[in-house]
């Protein structure tokens, strides 16, 4: 049992690390046991122990000692609990883990909205509210950063480029097996009283928070490790593993979006690691990065934090753009309009995303002179973002639109992001932002971007690739019911929040003035409606996975490579490496063929789907 071995390794690592640190502390004359200092250091040992237990020992360490590496040979459902190196297994591991986290964080939101239904403290006191709010935000950010890239970047991208796996399959498994420790740290944080800093964890509040805050730092740091490793792998895979003939401008747009997302991840995630590390050191090692009394600088935290966390917004949203354009092309039966402009839009966003971070700090007390440049750069980023809409609208125009469930979700992304994007233009305007910063207007805005864009994109991807991943079809009617229920619930919840923000409700408050009561009650009702929509999804998802009708290899009639092989694909994906002849968007072009898959492969598709 991989997980048991990992757990033993983790516990052993913690004990070893703690013993080591405690003896050093004792030798240095301080109290041996101090929960934060010992835990922060021992976490690294625990992490190492866990990784050795789950697979590092078998795959990497044994060969160092001249032994043969021990490969897992588990089959069936047990593979998903192993250190399996097949990118398709890892994709599903990511999907299920982060869906679970998503629903957990969603439940927290339901409790928050229940509390906010009326004036005064009802079910939660202010401290509990702050903790729940902080955990909700943190967990949802983790989901938005990792779910789509982890699940579909892993499962689909290698197939779409005609590869048999990722460039570094073992490293790929490693990046997934760094996720369970993240969940452990979040759980530990919850049970040690949480933290009251929000997901942004501003210093010096975060330096002073309870031990739950330390676990937040460790969780984010560990997820960052996982992101960096995963991003590196995807970059190398796309650069080196493309099939013969798969030139850069023949890549499916989804591959582009994941590739660019990964570049952002690789460059910027280290800064969140740095921000977390600096807070941990301030808490445990007596450093004074953010302690003004000793000459530290609280604003430094915000600069480092947002230097990651603004690009992180694009890490969350670019994959959804990619999915949306991909789906819009396949379900309008038209070539992707202005393909190169769409790619240019993604690249432009990537290029500009590193020079806009201080728009989160217009009221922070940073130098006045920084306001204009960051106002300008932020407003300008709407130009490349507009190219995504240019491409989507151009593709829809005079298409033969098929209203499948994935298509509905893709259209949902466009509608919701339109509102999220336009309100972003308002917030980037400094005079307006001075009033609206830290109000529900901001809450509404980023939920339109991240939930309405990113998570709607995630669900578009789930409905789209479910048949490929599981070999079964999801129920179409239930899918449509889920879409409309979620779409209406989402807008009913978050549209009134703009008005709440304009009226003067600030964010992250457990209680509010009585004039805001009616609107809050309405928002809560919308929230519960939104929350219940996922019951439909879960029922459909689980039932279809177990007993849905068997999926053909290409139920959508799409032209990208993953639909040209059986559902689910065999271990090596393609029997012979495909040769790519044109981009995958040649709908309506008589002689256009995306790829030559070889004779044997087309036979295996005709034989059926038992593979």
């Amino acid at each position: 049992m991989t997980i048991v071995r990992g757990a033993i390794g983790g516990v052993a690592g913690y004990i070893l690390g703690a013993a080591l640190l405690m003896s050093i502390r004792a030798a240095a004359g301080s109290r041996a046991w101090e929960v934060e200092s010992v835990t922060a250091g021992a976490w690294l040992f625990a992490l190492t122990g866990w990784l050795l237990g789950v697979g590092v020992w078998r795959y990497w360490a044994r060969p160092w000692f001249g032994k043969k590496e021990q490969v897992y040979t588990t089959t069936g459902w047990r593979r998903y609990f192993d250190f399996d190196t097949d990118h398709k297994v890892i994709g599903i591991q990511y999907l299920v883990s982060f869906l679970a986290l998503f629903f957990m964080a969603g439940l927290f939101a339901m409790v928050m909205r229940y509390e906010l239904m009326g004036v005064g403290e009802d079910v939660l006191d202010a401290d509990q509210y702050n903790s729940l709010m902080s955990l909700h935000g943190t967990m949802m950010v983790f989901v938005a950063v990792a779910a789509t890239v982890g699940a579909f970047g892993n499962y689909v991208v290698p197939i779409m480029i005609g590869a048999d796996d990722m460039a570094y399959p073992k490293l790929n498994a490693l990046s997934f097996w760094l996720v369970p420790p993240v969940l452990v740290a979040l759980t530990a944080s919850f049970f040690s009283g949480g933290y009251d800093t929000g997901w942004t964890g501003y210093a010096p509040l975060s330096v002073q928070s309870d031990v739950g805050g330390l676990f937040f730092n460790l969780a984010f740091f560990t997820l960052g490790l996982s992101s960096i490793v995963g991003a590196l792998n995807i970059i190398v895979t796309v650069v080196t593993m493309r099939a013969q003939g798969m030139t850069w401008f023949r890549l499916p747009i989804f591959v582009w979006s994941i590739f660019i997302t990964s570049i952002l991840s690789l460059i910027f995630t280290q800064f969140i690691g740095l921000a977390m590390l600096m807070v941990v050191l301030d808490r445990t090692a007596g450093t004074i990065f953010f302690d003004p009394a000793s000459g530290g600088e609280p604003l430094l935290y915000q600069h480092v934090f947002w230097f990651y966390s603004h690009p992180a917004v694009y890490i969350m949203i670019l994959p959804a753009f990619g999915i949306t354009l991909e789906i819009v092309s396949h379900f309008t039966r038209k070539p992707l309009f202005a393909y190169k402009w769409a790619v240019g839009g993604l690249l432009g966003i990537m290029g500009m995303s590193s020079v806009v971070w201080a728009h989160h700090m217009f009221t922070s007390g940073m130098a006045e002179a920084l306001r204009k440049p960051f106002l300008a750069s932020t407003e300008m980023i709407s130009i490349p973002t507009g190219f995504i809409f240019l491409s989507a609208l151009g593709t829809l125009w005079m298409g033969k639109i098929r209203y499948t469930v994935p298509m509905l979700f893709a259209l949902g992304v466009l509608f919701n992001f339109l509102i999220g994007g336009i309100t972003g233009v308002f917030l980037a305007d400094v005079p307006v932002d001075i009033q609206l910063q830290d109000t529900y207007f901001v809450v509404a805005h980023f939920h339109y971007v991240i939930l309405g864009g990113g998570i709607f994109g995630l669900f578009a991807a789930i409905y789209y690739w479910f048949p490929k991943m599981t070999g079964r079809m999801m129920n179409d009617r239930l899918g449509k019911l889920h879409f409309w229920w979620m779409m209406i619930g989402f807008n009913a919840t978050f549209l009134p929040m703009f008005s709440l923000g304009l009226q003067g409700m600030n964010r992250r408050i457990a209680d509010y003035t009585p004039d805001l009561a009616d609107a809050n009650r309405a928002v809560s009702m919308g929230g519960f409606f939104l929350g219940t929509s996922f019951v439909v999804f879960l029922y459909n998802f689980l039932k279809s996975w177990a007993r849905g009708p068997v999926a053909p290899s290409n139920p959508w009639g799409a032209r990208t490579l993953e639909w040209q092989i059986p559902s689910p694909p065999p271990h090596e994906n393609f029997e012979v490496p495909p040769v790519v002849l044109a981009d995958p968007y040649g709908y309506g072009e008589p002689d256009s063929i995306h790829a030559d898959l070889g004779v044997t492969q087309s036979e295996s598709i005709e034989e059926g789907v038992e593979a």
Binding site: A126, N130, D196, G198, Y202, P204, L205, Q208, P292, A293, P298, L299, T332, R333, K334, P335, F337, A338, W341, T363, G365, R371, K372, L375, A376, E379, S382, I383, G386, G394, L396, M398, G399, K400, I401, R402, Y403, L411, L414, L418, I422, V425, F426, D429, V430, P431, V432, I434, Q435, Q437, D438, G504, N506, R508, D511, Y512, D515, G586, Y587, G588
Partner: protein
Amino acid sequence: MGEEDRNNSSKRLLVVGLIWLVATVLAVIAVAAIQWHPFAASREAEITDDAFDLLLLFAAPVFTFVLVVGGYTLVRDRDRGTGADGAPIRTNRLFIGTWVVITTALSVLIVITPGFTGLDELRAEPEPDLIIDVRAERWNWAYTYAESGVETQGTLMLPIDRRILFRISSTDVIHSFWIPAFRIKKDAVPGQITTTMVTAEVLGSFDNQDEMRVQCAELCGVGHARMFTGVTVVEQAEFDAWLAAAGG
């Protein structure tokens, strides 16, 4: 493209253009009719609210364009079970060129106004008539009127039509000094003094306007939600009397 297709295509463009025009006019009327802003009581509030309204005006045609073009094609171009492919249009120079030029111009325009112009307006008139030191601590506000040395807590008393400079500091964590009715907000950062200026232009108090309050707008711990006090704006004479009574 055949002659018929071309006619068809120009008819579509005409129809979409007309709907867009109507939708934009309706949107602009709606934008003007809705009361977007809460109670406003300062010179700064006018600048901020004007900027917001101008952005709404810029946003209206963009919003309606995407909705009308998207909506039209979603209704008109649905596949009625033919299983056929759509027209293989990969590019259109005129459309792309127009799009790029207009969105770029609009973005630049927005940066200049209300962006830069609004900021410059806010920064004009830097000479204060009155200086107040604001001290934030978990979880209340304390004010010192610099000239007279009077220290108060609770309600913030201000004279009308005077340029007021707030010098904001914090003794513990980051807070944010926000007066919704004035549309001003600036963080209180430990180890630093931040500033913001305001001219109150309307008499009033928290008793009759919820927006007349100093509200902490940066999460600062368990008392954050309740970290607010009232703001009262009075005539200069009344203010002087109050200040004298308070010990100045």
